[in-house]
């Protein structure tokens, strides 16, 4: 990658500031299906696999997806094969991945985050750990935990005690005051805040006029929520001293530019990857052009530009 795009997230060196959002890109699957050598030419500057939990989870009843105006509702419910399968089966296959790996974990209780983080601390391939305390699609833990500053701090503390890795806490926008949660996470020892997870929403089947999702409610992602994401990034990056990973609707290089200017150090692409799983590679290239046009010589110069007088 070109010099001007080089950046860093704490100790992680990144070729450019675009990574993937957990749960929206599966390298091992994509490698097979796309028959591209993604391990060699990885489109993102870091890889965040789908959130894993202590025990395997089947996920929620289908239907799990519904498209809305410029948005997508999902109610996957953290379907995953459990942290053991992740460590024993997936991580070895990711040994050759040429970019940092950020493992995402979730639990039902605050101490689950400590247990997961401890297991991952043994894994050399894991460069950073993201605590997903913000999934709107699971009953226990997830949201309930991520809406409460006290529990947010506690979950972060448990993880902090269990790992020396770069520690990211991913927050939900479905709260009255997201900055207080960001502060709680930083107080608990977070090195970085990641925002936003999906926005609470719901859809009806247009013909039956009954809930369109098996789980009834779901999480809204995509361009529709970009204004919500920009606000969260702007407010939090003004409030805490750690770097912010910004996500929520970013789809174009102009969006990436804006997320960085709003205060994100790195931008994650989620739903837009469903329009093309390799989109991020193009975004990084286009970002360089936009930066040159606007006279930004480095990503660092751009980060938080909207806050400057």
């Amino acid at each position: 990658m070109v010099e001007v795009l080089k950046t860093a997230l704490g100790p992680l060196g990144l070729g450019h500031p675009v990574i993937n959002a957990s749960g929206t890109f599966d390298l091992l699957e994509a490698d097979e299906v796309l028959r591209a050598d993604l391990m060699a030419e990885f489109p993102f500057a870091a890889y965040v696999p789908k959130t894993v939990t202590m025990e395997p989870r089947a996920g929620n009843d289908p239907p799990r997806l519904f498209e809305t105006a410029a948005g997508l509702l999902n109610s996957i419910g953290l379907a995953n094969r459990g942290i053991e399968a992740f460590i024993d089966e997936d991580l070895p296959r990711l040994a050759a991945l040429p970019v940092p790996l950020i493992a995402s974990i979730a639990g039902e209780r605050t101490d689950d985050y400590g247990r997961c983080a401890l297991l991952l601390d043994e894994c050399d391939r894991v460069d950073a750990v993201e605590l997903n305390i913000s999934c709107p699609n699971v009953e226990l833990g997830g949201m309930a935990l991520g809406c409460d500053p006290y529990k947010t701090r506690q979950a972060t503390e448990y993880a902090r005690e269990s790992t020396s890795r770069f520690l990211i806490v991913k927050l939900t926008p479905n709260v009255t005051d997201i900055t207080s949660l960001a502060r709680a996470a930083v107080e608990g020892g977070a090195d970085c805040i990641s925002v936003i997870n999906t926005v609470h929403g719901m859809a009806l089947d247009p013909l039956r006029l009954k809930p369109a999702l098996g789980h009834v409610t779901g999480g809204l992602s995509g361009p529709a929520i970009k204004p919500v994401a920009l606000r969260a990034i702007y407010m939090i990056s003004r409030e805490v001293d750690v770097p912010v990973i910004g996500m929520g609707g970013a789809t174009t290089a102009q969006d990436v530019l804006e997320f960085l200017a709003a205060g994100a150090s790195v931008v994650a692409i989620g739903t837009a990857s469903f329009r093309d799983p390799l989109l991020a590679a193009r975004l990084a290239g286009e970002l360089r052009v936009l930066m040159e046009q606007r006279g930004f010589g480095s990503v660092r110069e751009l980060i938080g530009h909207a806050h400057k007088e």
Partner: protein, 263 residues
């Protein structure tokens, strides 16, 4: 703009060279040499109109209706914003296409093949029928439609032994395709046990035809319709419940043995 030689898109831009109504449906053909070469019956494509538009946001799964030299054809039933948008494409427009995706039908048997389509579920059966016949299998194709406007799609099955039913009786037999199927299996007599059913359509229709088939000892492969986001096994959004648990329709389907589905 990235490093030289680096792939910057998984989707290919494919030019539409034909777009014409087939009754209530629309047949759209586009140039996609590699996809045409690699496609198997029952596989599908993720398709989106090229461009920056954000609504519709995502590609839609479309069965490969047919393949002709370097052309791939899809048959579209414009029921919602995604399919309406695709059906509105004119000659010269571009589709962003990913595929072929999914497992496709298993063509390995050698007994008589009974194909059953419900509505737009007829789409993948044309290519399937041709490939089965090329393999020397005896093919009977049963298509159920709402009414005449949909049933016109039966014309796309030239050279295939097609039987049509419509719910309003405007074309073919009045009733459901599952009723056609009972008659057809009865006609096979004891040979029915060697027969195999290949079905595509709405869930209720798939349940009905595979139940009918099961009663007569006929195995079924069914292609299911679920909402998809990624199409490549990444999002876990398109799952159906099977005896082995949830399975992704995009990467582990869309064709499943009816016996494996819990519905």
């Amino acid at each position: 703009m990235g490093a030289p030689g680096r792939a910057e898109a998984a989707y290919s831009a494919c030019r539409v060279i034909e777009s014409r109504p087939v009754g209530a449906y629309r047949l759209v053909s586009f140039i996609a040499r590699e996809m045409a070469a690699g496609a198997r019956p029952g596989q599908f494509l993720m398709v989106r109109r090229s461009g920056p538009a954000l609504d519709p946001l995502l590609p839609r799964p479309m069965s490969i209706h047919d393949v002709e030299s370097d052309l791939v054809k899809v048959l579209i039933d414009p029921v919602g914003k995604g399919t309406l948008n695709l059906a509105a494409a004119g000659v010269g427009d571009q589709f962003n296409v990913l595929g072929p995706l999914g497992n496709g039908f298993n063509l390995e048997g050698d007994g008589p093949a009974l194909l059953a389509g419900g509505g737009i579920g007829a789409a993948p059966l044309a290519y399937l029928a041709r490939q089965l016949m090329d393999r020397g299998r005896e093919v009977t194709c049963l298509l159920g439609f709402r009414s005449r406007a949909q049933a016109i799609a039966a014309e796309l099955f030239r050279g295939v032994d097609v039987h049509v039913s419509t719910e309003d009786g405007s074309v073919g037999r009045q009733g459901l395709v599952s009723e056609l199927l009972s008659g057809c299996i009865a006609g096979l007599g004891p040979g029915a046990r060697q027969a195999e059913l290949f079905a595509c359509g709405p869930d209720a229709m798939l349940r009905a035809v595979s139940a009918t088939a099961l009663e007569c000892g006929v195995r079924s492969q069914v292609s299911v319709d679920t909402h998809m986001a990624c199409g490549v096994g990444a999002c876990q959004g398109c799952v159906v419940e099977t005896v082995q648990g949830y399975r992704r329709a995009c990467s582990e389907g869309p064709v499943f043995a009816a016996a494996d589905l819990k519905w």
